[in-house]
C-alpha cells in the first residue's frame, strides 16, 4: 500500500486520490468512470478471478479500455498478488514512503 501509494502520488495523482485509494475508498478517489471500472475489475480479479465473466471484460471495453490495456491490467493485478504475498510472508515493514514524501514536499 505504502510504496505504490507513494509512486501513485509521484505520478501526479492528487492527495485526495492517493488517500482514498490507500484506504480502499475507490468511490471517493475522484476517478473517472473508466478508472473506477478499471479498479472494480482489479478487485474482481484479485478476489475471485475464476468468477470473472466476458461481461466483466465488456464493461471495460464499454468504458473505452482497449484490449491490450485490459490484458496489461491483468498482468499488473497478478504481479501485485505475487509481490503482496511475498512481502506479507516475509513480514517486511512499510517504508513509510508516503509519510516521508509529504514532509519532504
Amino acid at each position: 500500500m505504502d510504496s505504490h501509494s507513494y509512486f501513485l502520488r509521484a505520478q501526479g495523482a492528487s492527495e485526495e486520490c492517493v488517500a482514498a485509494i490507500f484506504q480502499g475508498r475507490v468511490d471517493d478517489a475522484g476517478l473517472t468512470q473508466a478508472e473506477q471500472a478499471l479498479l472494480d475489475y482489479a478487485k474482481l480479479i484479485t478476489e475471485a478471478a475464476y468468477r470473472s465473466t466476458p461481461q466483466d471484460v465488456q464493461k471495460l471495453r464499454d468504458e473505452g479500455w482497449k484490449e491490450e490495456q485490459i490484458a496489461e491490467a491483468v498482468y499488473i493485478i497478478a504481479l501485485f498478488a505475487f509481490f503482496n504475498r511475498v512481502a506479507d510472508a516475509f513480514g517486511i515493514p512499510s517504508q513509510n514512503y508516503l509519510a516521508m514524501g509529504k514532509t519532504a514536499s
Binding site: 510504496s3 501509494s5 495523482a13 503482496n84 506479507d88 517486511i92
Partner: protein, 98 residues
Amino acid sequence: MRDSSQSASIEGEQAVPKIQIIEDDQATGETASAYDFWRAGSGRQQVPGIIKCFGMRPDFLRQVVQFSNTVHFSEGHLCRRHKEMIAAYVSYLNNCPY
C-alpha cells in the same frame, strides 16, 4: 487502514521479518552482485525490503527486477499512473502494508 500487526514481530524500534532476509551489509557473492544489479538500475544505494526478499535466489532476483521494470515501471499500454493506481489498490485488497 487494515490491520498490519501480523506483518512482522517488533523488537525495539526494528521490525524483525518472519523469514530471514539478507541485509545490504550482510550480502556476499551472488546475492551481493544481484543487489548491485538493482542499485545500478535504480541509482539508489539502499536495497528495498521487497527486493531483499529474493536474496536467497539471486538469479531469480535479477529476473524479478527485470520483469518489474518491463511491465510495471514503464509506460506501456497503460500509463504509469494507472499501473500505480492498480498496484496501490490491489495492495490494499491484499492487506499488504508495504
